[in-house]
């Protein structure tokens, strides 16, 4: 009996020590995060956090330790919120409110890892009420930009574009989303937003089918729904803003490779896993693209897979350079692979002989662009995506267009767009990042 007690006590003490050493630099964490760290995988994040929390609860009653962690989390996120509030004052207050909700969400989720999402949603509803209230009082429209999950730099960047559109249109855009990329949570949030009678919803869907009823319900309540980044299936939204089509993504990568190789030579592809559907679609389309006469002198010699792991991607890139001593370009259509390849080229002192290109994020690639290991790469601009989402939503909500196929509208600085027959608006060609423009981007 005594041994058991001692055991539990020990576990508790060490957990407390652990969260203490994890907790102290937490403030540093979020401030650096705001400075602009790169891509994130919130869905996995939440999942794992819950697992660990569950394990902790399973071990003993850890309420005290977890509480400390929770308090620090919310404090840190509040600080972050204050940092980011650069938009109009009203918008700023809303943002901080939303982010505070996010903090509450996270803490609640961590504290009661088991189930309790209802509390989190209630908190979200509260914030939504404030947002809608202030919107109505000002007489301006209040749109809600809903990401897959909060705390992801990609979506945060989209929100920056959305806030810019809001400023130009004279409306309020509130950024609200589930704490984790979870369709159930997103549906609950949307339901509460419908109850607040907001002026419009721009959603990046966590599940294309599961959100159809929620989208329908919103439209029945005369709340226009557009989706961006990730679509709700037709019927659950009016218009979808697509960031890029696969063919364009493939074409731009071959074009960049051709530029870097000087139009002729051996190229190779370093992909993520051999089963990733988007990767395989792009690779297939790239092979098609290479059949064009412009690229007749480019020779695709190999396709290897780095499994989106740093270590494996690095070794695979090393292997490519050894197997093909006259290799000119490595195309890596994956964020992990492109950085690892660039580093492998640098370490092998082959900068200027072997070039890396593909898809990546500016923060991650900044050094390699400047060193010349990866002079140019592409990705769509998430900020423009958020901007276009709000512009489209406003065009529909203000009655300028009905959201039918064939409708044409002007989206501020981005120019004119037409809705295609599937109810989709295409953002445009992917953006190419190089040493001239990379410092303008922070995501």
């Amino acid at each position: 009996m005594f041994e058991k007690g001692l055991r539990s006590f020990l576990i508790l003490v060490v957990l407390a020590v652990l969260s203490a050493c994890g907790g102290t630099p937490a403030t540093t964490t979020s401030s650096t995060a705001t400075q602009g760290a790169a891509t994130s995988s919130s869905s996995t994040m939440a999942a794992t956090t819950e697992t660990s929390a569950a394990t902790m609860v399973a071990a003993t009653d850890t309420s005290t330790t977890t509480m400390t962690a929770a308090t620090e989390t919310s404090a840190a996120t509040m600080a972050a919120a204050t940092d980011t509030s650069t938009a109009a004052t009203a918008a700023a207050t809303d943002t901080s409110a939303a982010t505070m909700t996010a903090a509450t969400d996270t803490t609640t989720a961590t504290m009661a890892a088991a189930t309790d999402t209802s509390t989190a949603t209630m908190a979200a509803t509260g914030a939504a009420a404030t947002a809608a209230g202030s919107g109505a009082a000002g007489g301006a429209k209040t749109y809600i930009l809903v990401p897959k999950a909060l705390g992801n730099p990609y979506f945060d960047t989209a929100n920056k574009g959305a806030q810019q559109a809001a400023k130009e249109l004279g409306v309020t855009v509130t950024y609200q989303g589930p704490a984790t990329a979870d369709a159930t949570q997103q549906i609950q949030l949307i339901n509460s937003l419908i109850a607040q009678n907001v002026s419009g919803l721009a959603i990046s869907a966590d599940d294309s089918d599961a959100l159809v009823p929620a989208g329908k319900q919103a439209m029945d309540a005369k709340i226009p729904v557009v989706t961006w980044d990730s679509a709700i299936a037709p019927g659950g939204r009016m218009v979808h803003i697509n960031q890029a089509v696969a063919a364009d993504i493939a074409a731009i990568q071959i074009k960049m490779a051709s530029d870097l190789a000087g139009g002729a030579g051996k190229i190779a592809i370093l992909s993520a896993t051999s089963t990733a559907p988007n990767q395989n679609e792009w690779i297939g389309l790239m092979k098609e693209e290479l059949k064009k006469p412009d690229y007749a002198k480019l020779q695709l010699v190999d396709t290897v897979y780095g499994d989106d792991q740093d270590e494996k991607s690095y070794t695979e890139a090393q292997g490519l350079m050894k197997k093909y001593p006259d290799l000119k370009v490595i195309i890596a259509p994956t964020t992990v692979g492109i950085a690892s390849s660039a580093r492998a080229v640098q370490d092998a002192k082959l900068v200027g002989k072997v070039f890396v290109t593909g898809l990546g994020t500016p923060n991650q690639m900044r050094d390699y662009v400047k060193s010349g290991a990866a002079p140019q790469f592409a990705l769509w601009n998430p900020s423009d995506l958020g901007y276009l989402a709000i512009q489209t939503l406003d065009a529909v909500a203000s009655g300028k267009i009905k959201g039918q196929p064939g409708d044409t509208f002007t989206a501020g600085k981005l120019g004119s767009y037409t809705i295609d027959k599937d109810g989709v608006v295409l953002l445009g060609k992917p953006t190419v990042f190089n040493k001239d423009n990379i410092d303008q981007f922070n995501f």
Partner: protein, 338 residues
């Protein structure tokens, strides 16, 4: 007559020397593999490629040694990958916040952090009586969870890390890359520790017979706690080197690495049931794994087959190793009878 039995005696002496050299089997396999690969891809047998293999296995060697110390005590540490991930992430955040922090300080910080995490394993297992595989399976998830919680899913990228920190693994002393130098120092230290210190010998005793060890007055719990703490410490060091070498800390850093370390230990002749294993064997085991990975990418085996081929080669290595060992032993006992 006299000439007749001189030869076998000489041969027996030589054989015994070879048999004492327990790692002969694995060495034979490495040489054979290298020969086959060189025939197909001459680029394999170059000094550059050899250096690349060494660079790639340096971290594996460090962590595999930690793992083998644990395995020798009849345990296993499944949380090594997560400890590496967590220290890599935390130390990266620290050096981003304090770019002026000298590299060695970051290294010490990582080792301390790893030591704390390893001690937690040690407490659970030695004093808490939780079976090692369960305790470290739990902390594998806990520590990985902490990575996500701490980083909030973000990564630390190359451009954020100060140059001094990146130089830690990349720089070199007298043409020897720092990271290889680090591995050599760890190998030497662990070799000395296991062979010439009392605690080091206790580790073997505890692993081969815990009851006897207890009666011999060895504080078994303390020894077991110590190996997990040391494992954490070495993983902490590995985490810092990892972040420095790969110029990034990602949420999935070193995920799944624990299996590689177990493989390197076992291939290197560490007894999975505890009690025996040598530093040299583990180094060769890690070298074999590194060679296999390097060879598979160079030879150009279809990526869809690579994983299976890797497993097959590892199994083959173990079988060849034990077959050679058995034959040598039989041969030797035969020779001794003469």
């Amino acid at each position: 007559m006299g000439k007749m039995d001189m030869a076998p005696r000489l041969r027996a002496g030589l054989l015994q020397a070879v048999i004492k050299f327990r790692e002969a089997g694995i060495l034979v396999f490495i040489v054979a593999l290298a020969a086959v690969v060189t025939l197909r891809t001459p680029a394999f047998l170059t000094l550059d490629n050899f250096r690349d293999i060494l660079l790639n296995i340096s971290i594996l060697v460090i962590v595999a040694l930690a793992q083998s110390m644990v395995i020798i005590t009849r345990g296993v540490d499944l949380s090594v990958g997560s400890i590496i991930g967590l220290t890599a992430m935390m130390v990266s955040f620290v050096v981003v916040a304090f770019p002026a922090l000298p590299g060695p300080v970051a290294m010490v910080l990582g080792m301390l952090l790893g030591m704390v995490l390893g001690s937690f394993n040690g407490v659970l297992i030695s004093f808490g009586g939780v079976p090692p595989i369960i305790a470290t399976l739990g902390t594998l998830s806990i520590y990985r969870g902490l990575v996500f919680w701490y980083s909030r899913g973000t990564w630390v990228n190359a451009s954020q890390l100060p140059p001094g920190f990146r130089q830690l693994a990349k720089g070199s002393v007298l043409l020897l890359p720092n990271i290889i130098l680090g591995a050599i120092i760890v190998v030497a230290a662990v070799y000395y520790f296991l062979r010439y210190t009392r605690t080091g010998r206790d580790i073997y005793t505890v692993g081969s017979n815990p009851d006897a060890a207890r009666f011999a007055g060895i504080r078994v719990q303390r020894v077991i706690f110590l190996v997990y703490m040391l494992s954490g410490l070495l993983c902490g060091l590995a985490g810092v080197l990892w972040a420095s070498r790969f110029e990034a800390a990602q949420t999935n850093t070193a995920a799944g690495f624990e299996l590689q370390t177990v493989a390197a230990s076992v291939v290197g002749g560490v007894n999975i049931f505890g009690g025996s294993g040598s530093v040299l064997g583990v180094v060769l085991g890690a070298f074999l794994l590194g060679t296999i990975q390097n060879a598979l990418t160079l030879v150009g085996i279809s990526p869809f087959w690579q994983l299976a081929a890797q497993g097959l080669l590892i199994l083959l290595a173990v079988i060849v190793d034990s077959a050679i060992l058995r034959r040598l032993q039989r041969f030797a006992s035969g020779a001794q009878r003469v």
